[in-house]
């Protein structure tokens, strides 16, 4: 039987997928990389424009740790390791505190190593499994808006039977006409609601969520159409926990209309997983 070039092409594509797909890093790796880029970008901006900001961030982190530890037992949620992720630390380091960023450096320098450090001591991150979307339920809460920027908390409820952990930022997709669309989420100091224009990123912490307990992430976005085309509307968000493999659906009964801002096609800024709600009054 004679074969066409198309047959050969198809066979080669299939064989390459067979051989390479198993070693392609997954979405969690992509999230880690984007987090590093976002943190580097934020760190570079802060180094240039907000000298001393990391000190303030560390103080805020320590205060948040004390508060969270005091109330965590009651809520069934605890902060175990706490560090400022804006310095570019790798999440696989499992709670190690990265060195402080040099605030006088005008531009980002060497990249952080992408390999884990040889820490031998088991941490909560290794002892307790990461939360996955399959064992979480999620809902929107505390919706609010101001000056064309809207925001809300997302309550992540551990519906499983064992505790699990989350650390860092979730991946965010949106559902449009039944199709999942990857959103270009930022983790920036530019969020007018989340970050209160104070030039500091929300603190990232390793959060353990007991069965039946809640953790929170929050996001804000532009709701003002500033371009020639209509802003897209979405019926739900799909949230994948930072170290999880599956997403959990967050229904948006009134639809989310996400618009651009700051030069992006859609601008949506996200805050990391936290023990407490961001927008609750």
């Amino acid at each position: 039987m004679s074969m066409t070039p198309d047959d050969i092409d198809r066979a080669l594509s299939a064989r390459l997928a067979t051989g390479v797909d198993p070693i392609v890093p997954g979405q969690a790796a992509a999230d880690r990389i984007m987090r590093t880029v976002a943190e580097r970008a934020a760190g570079g901006r802060r180094a240039r424009g907000f000298a001393g900001g990391s000190g303030a961030g560390l103080r805020a982190a320590l205060l948040a740790a004390v508060v969270a530890l005091l109330v965590g037992g009651v809520l069934g949620v605890s902060v175990v390791a706490l560090h400022d992720r804006s310095t570019g630390g790798n999440p696989r380091q499992g709670g190690q505190v990265p060195p402080p960023v040099a605030t006088q450096t005008p531009t980002p320098t060497a990249s952080p190593p992408a390999t884990p450090s040889p820490a031998a001591t088991p941490t909560l991150a290794t002892a307790v499994p990461p939360c996955d979307g399959a064992t979480l339920t999620a809902r929107l809460a505390d919706q609010r808006g101001a000056a064309g920027t809207d925001g809300a908390d997302i309550v992540l409820h551990n519906a499983g039977t064992i505790a699990c952990t989350m650390e860092g930022y979730t991946n965010v997709q949106a559902l449009s006409n039944g199709h999942a669309v990857q959103l270009g989420v930022t983790h920036s100091i530019g969020g007018t609601v989340l970050n209160n224009n104070n030039g500091t990123l929300p603190v990232t912490a390793l959060v353990a969520v007991q069965p039946g307990a809640d953790a929170y992430v929050a996001f804000e976005y532009s709701s003002v159409n500033s371009g020639p085309t209509q802003c897209p509307s979405y019926t739900a968000l799909l949230i994948t926990p930072p170290q999880g493999q599956h997403s959990v659906t967050v229904p948006a009964p009134n639809s989310l209309i996400l618009c651009g801002g700051y030069g992006a096609s859609i601008w949506l800024d996200e805050a990391p997983v936290s023990t407490t709600a961001y927008f609750a009054s």
């Binding site: 051989g19 984007m34 450090s117 919706q143 064309g148 930022t186 030069g263």
Partner: protein, 182 residues
């Protein structure tokens, strides 16, 4: 939308010392959907999951630092994938990194994957010269048009087609593609 307030969000303030928040955020948004294709490219070039992630992370940071060098109107994908390809060439794992890797847990098996067939493919890829491997991977694994294969590879269109042709011949023989077809 939960508000009827129609005022515009505040425009990004220029950051003293260079670089503005707006361009950074825009760049991040543009870069994000390219990370998975970049990881696929790096995995096929390095043939190691951890190497691939390292290479793409370094390439992403490099791209962010060099974003001002990108000519206006240039498509980000070939520009960024070219940086990834260069990074894959340059990545040389240190002895310390290899020690660390030996302590890593093994990767879980992929359900439904045929480990023997996968080994055949990675061995065949390993035998290809780097430029040929890059062209084949871009064309047949990332499904890019020849124009983009040429752009990422930094060669002419004719050279890209020639490299792909040579790669197909080599892989076709190594993997006995003719026999595999019905």
């Amino acid at each position: 939308m939960w508000t009827t307030d129609t005022r515009q969000p505040a425009p990004p303030a220029a950051v003293p010392g260079g670089g503005d928040r707006g361009s950074d955020l825009s760049f991040e948004a543009e870069l994000r959907p390219l990370i998975i294709p970049a990881l696929r490219l790096a995995a096929a070039m390095r043939l190691d999951r951890q190497d691939a992630e390292d290479a793409v992370q370094e390439a992403a940071l490099r791209a962010w630092r060099r974003q001002d060098n990108r000519r206006e109107g240039t498509d980000l994908r070939p520009w960024f994938l070219a940086i990834v390809a260069n990074q894959c060439r340059e990545t040389r794992r240190s002895r310390w990194a290899s020690v660390l890797r030996s302590a890593d847990p093994p990767h879980p098996p992929v359900p439904g994957a045929d480990p023997i067939a996968a080994l055949d493919v990675t061995a065949a890829l390993r035998r290809l010269p780097e430029t040929i491997r890059l062209a084949v991977v871009l064309r047949y694994y990332l499904d890019l048009p020849f124009e983009e294969v040429a752009s990422v590879s930094g060669c002419s269109l004719d050279a890209a087609k020639s490299r792909v042709r040579r790669g197909v011949q080599s892989l076709g023989a190594a993997l006995r593609l003719h026999e595999a077809l019905p």
